[in-house]
């Protein structure tokens, strides 16, 4: 689990972002980070911190979202399978990425949603037609049950070989 000093450090970070000093962060607090503001998917990532319909996130919620990015330790892999799945399991990391695509949270990535996210990532540099054919090809390759959308299971299948553990994990220096 997260060490005491790591929690202290993240709490220190939380308070430095909390300009209003009211113990919660708003979307503006996140957007003030320049390197996040220039990230094409910055708004989608910020959204992941806020539960449905809420505008403020407290430290607990902040930590909960960041917990998805803890590295998967070797000893954790062989832990008791009966307990609740840890937030940083491979499946939950994939689910985090899935939710970035799934704009309306209906557990499916439709063609429209994929197009919208693609548009965020490429800006004005690619035409609608080209983007459309990229989206079509992606769905065609992933879709197995013929509903022209990508479900979570289909998403997992497409990415089964990707080293999710490494690419969606952030290590502390101390």
């Amino acid at each position: 689990s997260v060490s005491h000093s790591q929690i202290t450090r993240l709490y220190s970070r939380f308070t430095s972002l909390d300009k209003g000093e009211n113990g919660t962060l708003s979307r503006e607090d996140f957007q003030r980070i320049p390197e996040l503001a220039i990230n094409p998917l910055g708004d989608r990532i910020i959204n992941a911190f806020f539960p449905e319909g809420e505008d403020q996130v407290n430290f607990r919620g902040f930590m909960r979202t960041l917990a998805h990015f803890r590295p998967i330790e070797d000893n954790e892999k062989s832990k008791d399978q009966n307990g609740p799945e840890p937030l940083n399991s491979r499946s939950n990391k994939l689910h985090f990425a899935f939710r970035l695509y799934d704009l309306d949270k209906d557990d499916k990535i439709s063609r429209e949603e994929l197009l919208q996210v693609l548009r965020m990532m490429v800006g004005v540099n690619i035409s609608d037609e080209q983007l459309g054919s990229i989206a079509d090809r992606t769905i065609q390759e992933a879709d197995q049950d013929g509903d022209s959308a990508i479900s979570f299971a289909e998403f997992v299948k497409v990415l089964e070989k990707v080293d999710v553990e490494q690419k969606m994990s952030i290590r502390f220096l101390h």
Partner: protein, 455 residues
Amino acid sequence: MFLLLPFDSLVVNLLGISITVLFTLLLVFIIVPAIFGVSFGIRKVYMKTLLKIFQWATLRIERGAKEKNHPLYKPYVNGIIAKEPTSLEEEIKEIRRSGSGKALDTPEFELSDIFYFCRKGIETIMDDEVTKRFSAEELESWNLLSRTNYNFQYISLRLTVLWGLGVLIRYCFLLPLRIALAFTGISLLVTGTTVVGYLPSGRCKEFLSKHVHLMCYRICVRALTAIITYHDRENRPRNGGICVANHTSPIDVIILASDGYYAMVGQIHGGLMGVIQRAMVKACPHVWFERSEVKDRHLVAKRLTEHVQDKSKLPILIFPEGTCINNTSVMMFKKGSFEIGATVYPVAIKYDPQFGDAFWNSSKYGMVTYLLRMMTSWAIVCSVWYLPPMTRQPEEDAVQFANRVKSAIARQGGLVDLLWDGGLKREKVKDAFKEEQQKLYSKMIVGNHEDRSRS
């Protein structure tokens, strides 16, 4: 009441005597040496004693924490998470490589590409390079100021007594002394420059003006108990040049101007600042702009160019970052001063935050609060390096020249060289940067061709 009378006059007498003694001491040990530019070395001894006390205090805190078996909070300046310095292209290629056996030379879109943006985004939420430059640096050892302590619960009784003694010394002895000195320095500056202003232009006026300025800056230096070490003084700026330095606080001006003669550049303020500015310009030509003129870049450039072309005028002092940064990094230099075509004399200023952090967090503290905090710190310790002069090479433009100077200053001062704009302290980042990222990514999914039909 009858009994209070003799007591009253006793108190008054004591007060009178102590004030006289204080002022005599002030005059002999501080003001007279300031006028002649000599030093008794009192400040160096003070600094060494303080260092020993700080080391002792830190050890006590560590011991206290160990006894309670708690880990001590130690700040880490180099970031808290591991970040790889790979580019967008390399990272995405690596993700795709691990995912599929397809040929990597053809640009296409993969669902796994999102991992790159996702992780990068979360990394910046946990620790980013820019926002931490706008708040004071965290110290590794405690310097007996409550404002820098993160481990309150491990302070023993002895340490608390020491801290209390520190508070007494700083607020009841040092603060009044410093305020008296600052008052003396500023009033001498205003009256001195006004008087010199009445003289006819010529060698005499120049000489007197320089020395009045110098003397008053030196008194102000002592008012802050600033202990400054100058390096490479042979590279000091000459007439017709521009001196550029990294900016941490308004004190930077006092530190540089107490070791050389400069023409100041800036906006005219109201209040006390305005009075000082108007008096100074009577004695020698500083470059002050009205608020409305500051926005007009051509006007600013024209006046600065006129000034540097006149070899009889003093070198200009400019801080190209445009705002105060916390002295752990150097941020983007605005290109205006580098377009003028004069010789640039870079100066690196590095403060030692151990004795008092000089960084002015202007969104948190106003000027008066800031000065009070400075005057109730132990001391302001810094090093100043005069770097060899630089000129713009024919093949570089103003921005490249500015970056070259910035890197030289960052290297000398041991500061991180950042390309980010210090203006991000208050403003949002420009959309152009996001568009750059989007363009880079687009190349990865459609390559460099404008139109490619796909089935």
